[in-house]
Amino acid sequence: MPIKFKSRILITSIAAITISNSIISQTNSDLGSISGNFQIDAANYRKDTIIKADPGSEVFRYNAFGNVNYVKGGFSAGVRFESYNPPLLGYLPGYKGSGVPYRFARYKHNDIDITVGNFYEQFGSGITLRSYENRGLLYDNALDGMRVIFTPKNGITLKGLVGKQRTYFSLSPGVVRGFDGEINFMELFDSILGKSKTKIILGGSFVSKYQQDQDPLLVLPENVGTSAGRFTIIRGGFNFNAEYAYKINDPSFQNKFSYKPGQAIIASTSYGMDGFSIMFSGKMLDNMSFRSDRNASNTIDMINYQPDLSKFHTYSLMAYYPYGTQANGEVGGSGEIQYKVKKGTLLGGKYGMDITVNGSVFYALDTIGISPSKDSIRHFNYSTNYGDIGNEFYHDINIEITKKLSKKLKFTLMYANQFLNQSVVQFNTLDKEEHPDVSSHIGVLDITYKYKPNSAIRFETQGFFGTYNYRDAKLDAHGQKNITNNTGSWVSELIEWTPTTHWSITLADQYNYNNPDVSKRVHYYFAMVGYTSGPTRISLSYGRQRQGIFCAGGVCRFVPSSSGLTLSISSSF
């Protein structure tokens, strides 16, 4: 999903400099145990005319949350307080406010598991239902209602749930109802098939949403259902799984109120053995956006999850033009081979060497628009030719080599070739006027020198060499093609010094050294000091953040450039 794009933009600036600690519990066997964690990321932004960063009048912003959980035997309960007044730049402004959007009580005993209040759940790959939280993205579609999980026999799991989804500090207008069943044949027939090397798991789910039709212009379906079937086969290091889903008419803001049914196929296979693994995944999604509010946009009220198979890059320049699942339709896949060169060989040397080759490519569906005059009764908007594919959306071919040269020195070398059909993926048009296709070669060298047992220094250098294809874009009044979004090439340098296990100091700079517009050849500098003590981490940073556009299914959101001071504190107990 486009969430990943957002994550890459934002994580690089703020979330990545904070480490959310795992929950450490304090146990008292009689009274149960209480555990919790909290985090605050606060920023004081400033106006920076050079990068056109203008935070407006609310220059101080923060994201904060705290969890408290209690466990005693099969019983558990918890609450989470959150506060954003207002949220940091780049996050949805609707989160402005404070409250307790998450509280639950859960009881598990033998074959029954009941939750009331808020809960997270996933059916299969998530294509019919996935309720989850991603704090770095401020994504939370927790269900508020009731869930029952029943395990009548070992190997059989039945789940039923009903509830409304979190929408900022409120709830979605629609109600979600779902059922999922899964049979693990090896566990079920343990005595007969338990020794078989082949394992088979079958599953099926059905999810329906209800939302009142108040539209004066269209007859809208108030109950919309999605069903899916899945299977997994495992034998030794081999694994294959696939899921097919079908959704009935679900007109929404996302799909421009198309009544066309949705379909999805997702499959993946992998094989692993000592020092070697290979994985392939593929998917076809057509009109499978499924939300508990048909009028919702951005990342709000999403019931299901349409998986993104492209590689999640952590190096900033590799992640600047990322792919986001096209909610209205796409076809594509990815593959990855990992190989560990053995120690003592010519390439492996004394410590061995890891090589990862990864590739992914995604295309549009081959669709044909239906003339409105022939579509006034059904309102499908388009038809799909499943025998062919459309234009390329994205590809990313990359290789990563990690090698330890000595006890003190190791490096990672990485290269990627990427292509992004930016106008379609982010702006839903083939018009290249402002949003050219971006092709790029990106290189990274990351060296860590551990000069003492608890002290290290890390150097990272990156280069982004882009070409921007405006195709047949016309010339402007000055006889030039629009270069608004042609930022040319970039270099990025980073040095991170960890003198002790408590302290770390980072200095970094991204430089747009050959922007065609000379006035935009700007340095995006960044400095950070971090202190860690047990479960507590504090960091203070100062610097600039590049702007970007975040688009999700026809709605685009401008993530502004920013500049300022950021303080992050996280801890747990």
Binding site: P152, F179, P216, D431
Partner: protein, 289 residues
Amino acid sequence: MKKVIINSLSILTISIFSISCDYVNNVNPAVDPSTGPVSNVIYRKALVEDYTGHKCGNCPAAAITLSSLESSFAGKIVPMAVHAGYFAYTNATYTTNFQTTAGDAYDTQFGNSVAGNPNGLVNRVGYGTGGFIKAHTVWGSEVSTIVTQAAKFQIRIKNTFNTGTSKLTSEVIVKSLANNTGHYKLVLLLTEDNIIAEQLDYALPVGAQFITNYNFNHVLRGAINSEWGDAVFTTSANLNDSVVKTFTDFSVNSSYNPSKCHVIAYIYDSDSTSPTYYEVLQVEEEKVN
């Protein structure tokens, strides 16, 4: 065994509720949506603000929705297009500047362009809540709720335009239709129809999405008094209390076509401690000339 049956039944019960699907064979409603309440009560009108931009290819769809709502709720809504944020910026291709001080102030205060264009506000109901900013597809149902509510205030506008000097004088009478307690302000805005300029429209075929002669309607041109208005009732307004405000000699920009301009007047809750802060309680519009 009994427990297994009970537990299975509980799961089954939830499952039965899940199995609900409405297949729609004809998307068109059987009843005319324009039928509404008929009585002597004065009802609220709906200020529908369309936050848009000429570089926003998804935005003409919202303008179409607004246009269809004007037909469906004729005389019950006051439309306004606010061009603000990234998609409203000008460049060599999109040269017409539709941005205004008032529009930028609203966009900054309400966060519309940051939330993703197109979107809008309907009487600014729900300020401060998550669902405050509305997708254009939900405007119709929001309007249908508002226009059935009895109005707390009545507004009447009388415009006098001097074509020689391009000066506009607006006399506005605000009358309280109930015993109201609170702080209320009156805002006068100017909008213009039929402006022909460049617009991106993703609904059109590839290659034809750049429109050079797009027809912009209800474009906010600026505030006549100020974007946040003047106080008309500061503590309370009793039934039949009325206030007359006269705004004299407002200069209408010579590049505007006065015969295509409207004055919008709205009264809103300006008490920052009120749960309905910023909510537009009544709105009217009147032609300039």
